[in-house]
Amino acid sequence: MIEVKGLTKKYGNLIAVNNASFEAQNGKITVLLGPNGAGKSTTIKSICSLLKYEGEILIDGYDNHSLMAKKRFGYIAEVPNLYDNLTVGEHISFIKRAYDVKEDEHIEKLIELLELKDKINATAKELSKGMKQKVSMLLALISKPDSLLVDEPMIGLDPKAIENTLTLLKRLKENGTAILLSTHIIDMMNDLYDVAYIMNKGKIEAKVVKDELGSETLKERFFEITEGSENE
């Protein structure tokens, strides 16, 4: 479970995230929804302890900077950030050892699901952007994280890969993983999300629970709140 309390992130005078509080529960897909520049990626990066911020962030009750927290979450970055000279197989070995993962079975299944079998010996710089995104996804899941943070997951993927990713996320949710993902592609989230937090200009403007939404769609609620605004 991910708990964010009073998160504020400033870049000089610019307030990228302003006192945001929310949570992502186990077995649920929580979506941070917002226009470009709303502060979604900054929020995700802060949770991963990749940025300095004000406020408190807990992963399964542990401070996100602690080792206990780091062992419990996986992160898929918006732009895949792999080591150019390492092959896919070497990336897998690296993360396995770094997280002290002993089992191989689930990794084999992930490789199959993400269709990476024939790319195992390819170096990262030989991969297309979509392939890199798949590898990034695979690496985040090697340690079987209890919480998964995904920043704009569908960018750069082909239709089949998007379908596989959606299947994967649903399967992880069924297994009890807390999934927090940021996106501005609303249509794709309709079937997927359980809870959505609508962000605009660095603030959490609304919480939308799918089961409580009634006849209104997520898209309608989103535009109602943001008025399709583009942030600076």
């Binding site: 990749l50 940025l51 900077h65 780091k70 950030n81 792999l82 080591y83 070497e90 396995k96 050892r97």
Partner: protein, 514 residues
């Protein structure tokens, strides 16, 4: 053309703005300029040393031209060159510009590169050595003007060969062949000179070779020497004529380059992308000389937890053949040769090795590693992660120290000299590595190169003070010649460990990723 000149001026302004946009960067850049210019003015007008204590101008010029030769050879032997950056290539090739305008814009770019190279060469030698040699204000001026002309000729010649042989896939080979032939030819002349003067010592032979008329005929380097020496000796007309000749040649090469009939946009774009990738690697402090080739390796294994970071770095080095680069090997052999032929003792040689260690530790690619998020997410303690990040560098410099000091046995050290030097150098190396990482910790990533190098150098100098002071005090009190090495090494290691401890936060929070 106006719009392209305007673009060039805008880019120049943007560069200055970037340097002065951060207070620390602005302060250190200004400070570096003031210190360097101040030193040159001080050497020229205020430093009063007896003539007998100053070295001859010819020795100063020899060192200056030696560095210039190394830099020119590095430019000419580049694997690949490019005329533009990727952004420029796209803009120029798609925009409403004639071929002449496009090529002239490329030459304007070469002017900027000329100034950068010239300043590097000029300041490095004048600031370091100016105080110890008989160099007048006019010498400083002529040295600068001649260096500008020399580097411009080289860069425009490179551009000329590039555009003329653009259609030929072997264009880079041709350039290296032309220069290689010239180098071999000059080496043959030197070998002949060496043979007829074989009774003299090597430094005397080099000096007489430099004084010979044949040397003055050597393209660019010889011409530069001819200009500078004639001005120094009061032969202004000869110097002026030779300098004029160099400027005319630069002009002719510019005209020839601009009058190229056609260019291949695909080649230009391809090389521009390569150039950008190289620039990015340079920004990340990656080793530029390791090339971009990656070989596959067998027996890959990773250590547990933070150790996996060190394993990954080692694997990267194995794949790119960069544990010890060719440049580093050449540097080692060059310093060894200079020490051997100049009859330097083992202690003096070890000071040279310390300089090499400083240069090598500066090129460690921590920024590259720190730009990947995995290092921050790996569940291990910051200190262990930082140690894993530094371990390959520590291992590398340790091997280089042992290798160089073992090779240095030809200089005839005692076993105690050997052990003391290894200890002392290890202390320096650890201090350089830890200062490097600590400077990264306290500096912003956006800091410009001049400011960050200056700060790194400053940190190293300050960090060295305790070991030098303590070492000198203990040695003076106890009169033990080897004590200095052991005491300074011990103090340096302690300071290095403190720096490493202070830097541990660099792998726990990651503002560097921004």
């Amino acid at each position: 053309m106006n719009s392209l000149v305007y673009l060039a001026s805008l880019r120049f302004k943007a560069m200055i703005r970037k340097i002065y946009s951060r207070p620390l960067s602005a302060i250190f850049t200004t400070l570096a300029i003031i210190v360097m210019l101040g030193l040159l003015i001080f050497y020229s007008f205020f430093l009063k040393m007896p003539e007998s204590e100053k070295g001859p101008f010819s020795a100063f010029l020899l060192t200056y031209l030696f560095v210039m030769t190394i830099m020119i050879l590095a430019i000419m032997f580049q694997k690949r060159t490019a005329l533009f950056t990727n952004v420029d290539a796209n803009l120029l090739l798609c925009g409403p510009f004639s071929l002449k305008q496009i090529l002239l814009y490329g030459i304007i770019g070469s002017c900027g590169a000329t100034l950068a190279l010239c300043l590097m060469n000029y300041l490095y030698i004048t600031v370091l050595l100016g105080a110890f040699f008989d160099v007048s204000p006019l010498d400083y001026l002529i040295l600068f003007i001649t260096s500008m002309s020399a580097y411009f000729i080289i860069l425009v010649f490179t551009d000329f060969l590039y555009v003329r042989f653009m259609d030929d896939p072997k264009r880079n080979l041709y350039r290296r062949l032309i220069v290689g032939t010239l180098v071999v030819f000059i080496l043959l002349i030197f070998a002949y000179h060496y043979y007829i003067n074989r009774d003299l010592k090597i430094d005397a032979i080099i000096n007489s070779f430099m004084d010979s008329k044949v040397f003055s005929l050597m393209p660019v380097i010889g011409w530069s020497k001819f200009v500078i020496l004639n001005f120094h000796n009061g032969e202004y007309l000869l110097g002026l004529l030779a300098l004029g000749g160099m400027i005319v040649l630069a002009f002719v090469l510019t005209i020839l380059t601009m009058n190229t009939r056609s260019i291949d946009p695909e080649v230009i774009c391809d090389d521009a992308r390569y150039f950008d990738a190289l620039k990015e690697r340079s920004k990340n402090n990656s080793n530029l000389y390791q090339g971009l080739k990656v070989r596959s390796v067998k027996n890959v294994s990773f250590k547990k937890g933070a150790g996996a970071i060190a394993s990954r770095l080692m694997l990267d080095m194995r794949k790119t053949n960069s544990f010890i680069t060719k440049t580093e090997v050449m540097l080692i052999l060059l310093y060894l040769a200079i020490s051997y032929f100049s009859d330097y003792d083992y202690a003096f040689y070890s000071r040279y090795v310390a300089i090499i260690l400083y240069v090598i530790t500066l090129s460690s690619n921590y920024n590259d590693e720190l730009s990947h998020h995995y290092i921050y997410l790996i569940p291990d303690t910051p200190l262990r992660k930082l140690w894993a990040l530094l371990w390959p560098s520590i291992l590398k410099v340790s091997i280089i120290i042992v290798l160089m000091m073992t090779l240095g046995i030809v200089l005839g050290p005692t076993p105690l000299d050997f052990i003391a030097a290894i200890f002392e150098l290890f202390g320096y190396a650890l201090l350089f590595i830890s200062s490097n990482i600590w400077s990264l910790r306290i500096l912003n990533k956006g800091q410009n190169q001049v400011a960050s190098q200056f700060i790194k150098m400053l940190i190293v100098i300050i960090a060295l003070i305790p070991s030098v002071a303590l070492g000198l005090v203990f040695t003076a009190v106890l009169y033990t010649p080897y004590l200095f090495s052991f005491i300074s090494s011990f103090v340096n290691i302690i300071i290095a460990l403190i720096f490493i401890y202070l830097s541990k936060g660099i792998v726990s929070g990651a503002e560097l990723l921004n």
